[in-house]
Symmetry: C2
Subunit: 394 residues, 2 copies
């Protein structure tokens, strides 16, 4: 007979990887609040608040703005699975892991995915999207605003949506690693559907994931010939719950919505534009610290995300070993690169509650010591020093 | 400009409806624990613990026993969507709301659903399932062990699985409202796949939902000709994360898993059989109290669930009004009937942490006063008295 499972005891990690990120204590308090029922008028008020705050954070007036009852890949599949009908073509990005996942979800939805070939670490060229639209006549164009696998920010979002709209396609944007931390203007940029996650720049543990759909995209969904392939994620059914009727569809993850509401209140209190600015400031300090430690940027500075930095290690170092030492010896979570950068780079997040002086300096200090003890000829404090000096110049 | 969203302030409801149910304080504490990363070795240990405790609770040795990253309908769709391939037939129950939902999910998966016609409020007759198998040659047979819409417990589960297996079909069982509160023996009863929710007899807020699949069902899934229609819920991909590799698939709802683990530890501490017994005892007290208040059972006693009771109100009373008064004047959540019983009955839960003396008596006291003030000639304390006396006889 096995011994009983022990009380929950966890290490106190500093979360500076690609997410989940550090959580504000107010968000954790909300998480641990006793639930009311998912159809209780008191919960309906919580839903209303959450929807209103989400709209402000995404910079949209879309009525259709909700947290999906699952983690980021669920809101992603809700977007793709509702908008792509069997037989339709979707143009998706080829410059990162999440573009690949989008392609896979298009296929699961019964569609054909055409990838815009672009090297990992580079943004899409709107001209390539325009060409792909002309060649393949897609019903949907996907774009990843913040590629979590590489740290690329897609600039010229309006040029991409223009290219898609000129061909009559709707645009789905992944803003998983930008929402609440990196400038994102859903309506101004002409994005028809956007999905996100809670555990990146919103600093809310995963489980309820933002999705917003404009009237044009919703009209396409309501006009489908065949039902959405997932009942759980069918937006035409979810409308009964999150829309005016508030009728039962499925049980919402009540406590996750409490927590998301609190995380969005923190965004509102700070102001979303101030928050973008703060992410820029601390990311600059973090990145200057990384370069001072001898790491090299994978992404050019004009399209580099503040929220996630992919950095090449000095040669000979194994990303997996650096990540393990950071975790086991310093309780700091960062991640290895993915795909094209898996063997040479690390990914360091600077998200939400982690985008502050303390977490940035602690991360750079731990990395400096990790590199020094791995025999790289580097001053362990060089990263911290560069970051402090960068912050001082502001 | 709208005023800022206020601090989270919620009424202190007693949750005695069809779920979410009352939550143990230890589960809420676990929920509010700062997350570690979903790939952290410390979280892998949490996953191992959770899987082990889930197996014990479901009475199964299935390796393939995991919490799905969503609420109960997500684990339901994971079961149906993985097991039903396009073109296949599934026999599903016709005696309640969740059988209807199963049928809808079969269609979304590309299959054909055949319902075993049975009145709401009655269990399936295994002979009817056998006939349906002979007539329709299904690949999958669905059965609802605990029908949350009516309060029916399906007896003779082995007779149903025998009927299905004799025709070569795999059996999917809904144990949403039985897991952890009502006798359920997955392996002994020959069930191939079972799905559940956390917010019923496990008393854990919704968001991570049990699913268990045996080797036979998993072989069918791995042998599919066409990919599962949902990427998020594809068990062949989830295998990489929850199986031996522990490779990234999607971000798990870390805090929901913490909470589920703690809820399952509480099951383990009490002993799952003792827990079944406790649900029986307090449900009997609750039901005797309901009858003493003039309500009438919808379901015969030999197939009546302990965890959820559907009871007809004295004639002339609107279920919706009774539910609203209970909530607004007494802070007690119960629910109206559904479908065939929507206009005449209420549903009262007796689940998990709510299956205790205090919650049962508080519910009956509030209901007695609600009925008395609605002009029903009933002694307001009659329900409490009957319950106390029933408990005293034990």
């Amino acid at each position: 007979m096995e011994p009983p499972v022990a009380e929950l005891r966890l290490p106190d990690r500093l979360l500076m990887g690609p997410g989940p990120s550090e959580t504000h204590p107010r968000v954790l308090d909300a998480f641990g609040t006793p639930p009311v029922g998912h159809l209780d008028p008191a919960f309906i008020d919580v839903m209303d608040d959450t929807q209103r705050l989400l709209r402000a954070t995404l910079r949209t007036d879309n009525e259709w703005t909700i947290p999906v009852s699952g983690t980021g890949s669920a809101s992603m599949e809700a977007a793709i699975g509702n908008l792509v009908e069997p037989g339709e073509t979707a143009v998706v990005p080829g410059n990162g892991y999440f573009g690949d996942r989008m392609a896979e979800m298009v296929r699961r939805a019964g569609g054909t995915a055409v990838q815009v070939e672009t090297p990992w670490g580079k943004p899409l060229d709107p001209a390539d999207v325009r060409d792909a639209c002309a060649e393949h006549d897609p019903a949907v164009v996907g774009v990843v605003h913040a590629e979590t696998s590489t740290g690329v920010r897609q600039p010229e979002m309006s040029a991409i949506t223009d290219a898609a709209h000129d061909h009559g396609a709707v645009v789905v944007a992944d803003c998983v690693t930008s929402i609440g931390g990196v400038e994102f203007r859903m309506d101004e940029w002409g994005i028809d559907a956007a999905y996100a996650a809670s555990q990146k720049c919103l600093s809310c543990p995963p489980g309820a994931s933002p999705l917003s759909v404009n009237d044009r995209a919703m009209a396409k969904i309501l006009d489908r010939e065949e039902s959405v392939r997932s009942w759980y994620l069918d937006l035409s059914l979810l409308d009964d719950y999150w829309g005016e009727e508030r009728a039962y569809h499925h049980t919402a993850p009540v406590n996750n919505v409490y927590a998301l509401r609190e995380a969005l209140r923190l965004v509102d209190e700070e102001g979303v534009e101030n928050r973008w600015q703060r992410h820029e400031e601390y990311a600059e300090a973090l990145q200057e610290g990384l370069w001072a430690l001898g790491l090299e940027p994978v992404v050019e500075s004009d399209v580099r995300l503040p929220s996630l930095t992919t950095a090449r290690l000095p040669s000979g170092l194994e990303p997996g070993e650096v990540v393990a030492t950071m975790r086991d010896d310093y309780d700091v979570e960062i991640a290895t690169g993915l795909g094209a950068f898996a063997d040479e780079a690390i990914r360091v997040g600077c998200m939400g509650y982690g985008a502050h002086r303390g977490p940035v300096l602690e991360t750079l200090g731990a990395l400096g010591e990790t590199l020094a003890s791995a025999g790289v000829g580097v001053e362990p404090g060089a990263g911290v020093e560069a970051a402090v000096s960068t912050l001082g110049r502001r």
